[in-house]
Symmetry: C2
Subunit: 226 residues, 2 copies
DNA sequence: TTGCCGAATGTCAGTGACTGTCATAATCTC
DNA sequence: GAGATTATGACAGTCACTGACATTCGGCAA
């Protein structure tokens, strides 16, 4: 039955995966979902991997085939968002200068992710909950910071390529990527304690990042006036 | 015999601690020392806490009374160095502007720490080894990044106080502290792969940090020229 | 010196994250 | 539908870390 086979592998949009792949995607999503529910109800530390696995009815061993460790399942949606940002950056027109491209990319990323779904794991309220979970859980914060610095390395590579520079020689890509990462991070931090910014949805976050960016010049300036 | 008591508690320089305190300090130092030796010979992951404890002839339980976790013993000397930097910053004259004070503080910190001992846990070669250990060990890198961001919060507080600002309102202290942290971090990273910089000792590190700082302006500038 | 108090340490048992291994069961391919 | 792949489960084991309790050691006063 070649017809069925073709249907399974090359159907609508050439994107329909086989049953195996779909099933895997489903369990993975379920695990992320169950984990978030448990974390937010009992806290991260008081939730065991066994519980998460049991909630999805798979063995603990299977959990660890999907995620390297307990932190990864908590940070999965954040990781996806960061990958999305990277994709945006790769697609920015070459005319933009590095800083413009980066600012445009986060804006773009927050707009599309925020607009995707009003509820569920991609929603703004879910993001807020996740940020708070991360900030209040030392081990999660540590894992998250490691992830983001890894992304900074990738970003620096993209910037260097855009400008046709050798990242080993020229320090600017690394420096800019690191500064950008720092600004985004403290913006996230401010966002968690800024009720007005949540209300505004993704635009609130974007505005906050812009405000922090605008303080870069003044902060680096010689002396501060009150 | 009050004489002996006084001698034990208020002898030369009024700094001699009791036997109990001295013993604690000694075991702690020994643990850090043994840990570093084991980590550098067998690697971090392949060294168990039991081994470290056994090398100093204490129980595993005692190890965990000195250090919250395995990462902490590896990062202990780095943590001390950071605390020293904080102290330097606190002591900087009020006339200096924030950026000047920070740059002066790392320079000061590296000079005195580097000049302290030519060999041993405080030496430049030991620092290099430690940096490499951290960068090649994901869990150590994560813990280290968490520590440094915590220090950034402290630094931001000091800066705000120096300038008489409310850190909740004014974004500049946080932004500057974060940018500073980012610059220092990538400088450390460059240092590990820059043989010439090791030779120069602390001054090599200081020069690297200065170079990265000098790229801040250009990196943030509109467009980059090759 | 003696004896008491509190702090430091050791012992032991337990939990939970994570890994290797092998058997089994589910998909995929032909 | 047979056979090759691949996902999963079951099980045992290691290791980081913790609570509880007994013991020992240093600090101090009678």
């Amino acid at each position: 039955m070649p017809a069925q086979l073709t249907e399974a592998t090359t159907a609508p949009g050439c994107r329909v995966l086989g049953l195996r792949e779909r099933k895997k995607q489903r369990t993975r999503d379920s695990l992320v979902d169950a984990a978030h529910r448990l974390f937010s109800s009992q806290g991260y530390a008081r939730t065991t991997v066994d519980e998460i696995a049991a909630a999805v009815d798979v063995s603990q061993r299977t959990f660890f085939r999907y995620f390297e460790n307990k932190e990864e399942v908590a940070l999965a949606v954040m990781a996806d968002a960061e990958d999305f940002f990277i994709d945006c950056l790769r697609r920015r027109p070459a005319e933009e200068n590095p800083l413009q491209a980066m600012r445009a990319s986060i804006t773009e990323a927050w707009r599309s992710l925020g607009g995707m779904e009003q509820v569920g794991p991609g929603s703004v309220t879910a993001a807020l909950e996740l940020f708070e979970l991360i900030e209040t859980t030392p081990t999660l914060l540590a894992a998250h910071l490691r992830r983001t610095t890894e992304q900074e390395r990738v970003v620096a590579g993209i910037l260097a390529e855009r400008e046709g520079l050798d990242p080993a020689t020229d320090l600017r890509p690394r420096v800019l990527a690191a500064v950008f990462g720092a600004v985004v991070r403290i913006s996230h931090l401010s966002w968690t304690s800024d009720a007005a910014a949540h209300e505004a949805g993704p635009d609130g976050m974007i505005a906050l990042i812009e405000r922090h960016f605008d303080q870069l010049g003044p902060a680096l300036a010689g002396s501060w006036q009150r």
